[in-house]
Symmetry: C2
Subunit: 349 residues, 2 copies
């Protein structure tokens, strides 16, 4: 029998609030942590200064364990030919909106975990650190483990789970096909390798001996009970928190989540260059869901950004990443603490 | 509260053996039915004569309820241009194997439910009739209901479930993305609309008031318990039965299921023209998973058939449809009755 997840992470409830870059910060993390779950701060889009500020806020507002989450992709070499193809693909939209494409700056939209981030973290020694897209190098990971942080990362196949276990993670997040946002896949680029939660979870549980947290399609106490029946030690829930008052979810994103449109999501690379699950909006329909012209993650972001802004200024989410999983039935406009408790309402742990 | 599934279908255990055309006949159906589950006879590939024979065998070997399953696609108009493109796509393989492509007969590979089938069925009045790809016309369905059969059909989205309920089905099979074989989708052609079991099941349960049977990724008693926690009234299991002695699963198919290859499946249209989940073999890798030249279902079959046969004669499954779901962990070479009982081993109903 493996060590229990709550004991491992020092939390009361086996609920992890999924880190969701761009739609939440410390407020949601603190609310979930103080309710007995594990709140998460998504750090991939934070400057070093903002990272330090957010960590200070969390430390001030809770003394319970919390999670900080980082992407650990390799920063790609810019590919001018592909960037130019991507801009050509987007030209009709620039014209429609009167955007001067020559003024768009290329550049990354997400920074991977690196030495400077590590320096900021060392001042706070967050108790849990989770990664997406694999793990940083052993040299970067060692200091994190040295201050006693528990390390988590996402697996989308049993092979990825075995790889993460071999690298010494403390628990694995099995990310099913249903999950919103970026696929954590890192040993394969083949979307057909992505498994539904019902298939992935028991196979990961069978493959590894560390605790398995499951993500993807879980939005209720019944879902949590089902995950536990399949061998999960805990559940990571993202989409259900998107309408909570503590989330920074934009107006267009909130409106989409509450509309019929939310019932059709797709894995798309048009927003960032990597497959991620979003509600199907105009840009996903017309450009995707998978567009081979999109530059490598995260370089696709730059050329999409002015379109996103221009449409959002008109009150439209046509070019906004409307991250959501395949099950929005748990989205409610309630405080995050209440949502957290409702996920375990039928169980006693 | 809806009527219980066991009461509705007259079965002891809430386990339905998924009908799997091409890999099983009456023997598997009878074994599962006599073990207390609902055995199913897949009829899409049976001649009228064989259908009558198989029904006679079932009636002789059990007096418990059983299910007969039919496809109800529209027979497509042959499209000579597309057929010729498809054959051009396959030409390198014909050459590799020394096949004379000019001798290949075009023609359908699966017959939809129709008046002649109905005439055969009326002599047997099977107690349960299930459909895939929607439902037959009301004129064809009425006599089935008139002899008292319970009617089931597959839904891959909440919208399809609502449609089926409005047409008067007695129960709905929610088919998650994980499921092996053909996607039952009929109101959409968009694969991105296909949801994982964890997301689909609770949304279908919420949408309809008839009992919901769930299929896709379930291969153990834990899986059955999880499905029940999410509101399923019963579970349809296919893949796990493929290695049972009563299945007719071919040697190449059995070998693939027992190999590492079984851990990578994909939704592919290369075998029949419709998306179906198969283990990724050479033909899926090189032609698919989705090939826009493949003629409309079931017309893609004819040109693939000689390749399948030629490779199978060499002991290879390179061009065989190796149907399997995303979770093969339940496949065991045991009698189907034992497997059926093991799926409910931890529960009492």
């Amino acid at each position: 029998m493996t060590i229990g997840l709550q004991q491992l992470l020092g939390i009361e409830l086996p609920i992890i609030q999924a880190p969701m870059a761009g739609v939440q910060g410390s407020a949601l993390a603190v609310a979930v942590t103080n309710a007995g779950g594990l709140g998460s701060l998504p750090c991939a889009m934070l400057s070093l200064e903002d990272l330090a500020k957010e960590l200070a806020v969390i430390r001030e507002q809770t003394d319970k364990p919390y999670n900080v989450n980082f992407f650990c992709h390799k920063t790609p070499q810019p590919d001018l030919a592909r960037e130019s193809q991507w801009r050509a693909t987007l030209t009709p939209y620039y014209e429609e909106l009167g955007i001067d494409a020559s003024r768009i700056q290329a550049g990354p939209g997400r920074e991977p975990f690196g030495p400077e981030v590590l320096e900021v973290l060392e001042a706070f020694k967050p108790p849990v650190v989770s990664f997406h897209f694999g793990l940083p190098s052993p040299e970067l990971l060692a200091p994190v483990k040295a201050w006693g942080a528990k390390v988590l990362s996402s697996a989308t196949t049993p092979e990825e789970a075995l790889w993460l276990e071999a690298q010494g993670v403390d628990a694995i997040i099995a990310q099913g096909y249903e999950a919103g946002g970026h696929r954590g896949m890192f040993l394969t680029n083949d979307l057909s390798a992505q498994m539904g939660t019902f298939a992935l979870l028991p196979q990961v549980v069978q493959a590894v001996s560390v605790p398995v947290i499951v993500a993807g399609g879980i939005a209720s106490a019944q879902g949590v009970a089902a995950a536990m029946a399949l061998g999960a030690a805990g559940v990571q829930v993202g989409t259900a928190y998107l309408l909570c008052s503590e989330a920074n979810t934009s107006a267009v994103h909130r409106a989409a989540l509450k509309s019929e449109a939310a019932h059709h999501t797709a894995l798309t690379n048009v927003f960032t260059g990597r497959p991620a699950r979003s509600i199907v909006n105009r840009s996903v329909k017309e450009l995707g869901p998978i567009n081979s012209n999109a530059p490598e993650f995260p370089l696709a972001v730059a050329a999409m950004a002015p379109l996103r802004t221009a449409f959002e200024n008109k009150g439209k989410g046509d070019f906004s990443p409307l991250w959501a999983g395949q099950n929005v039935s748990g989205c409610r406009e309630i405080p995050a603490a209440e949502l957290t408790r409702s996920l375990v309402a039928r169980q006693t742990y």
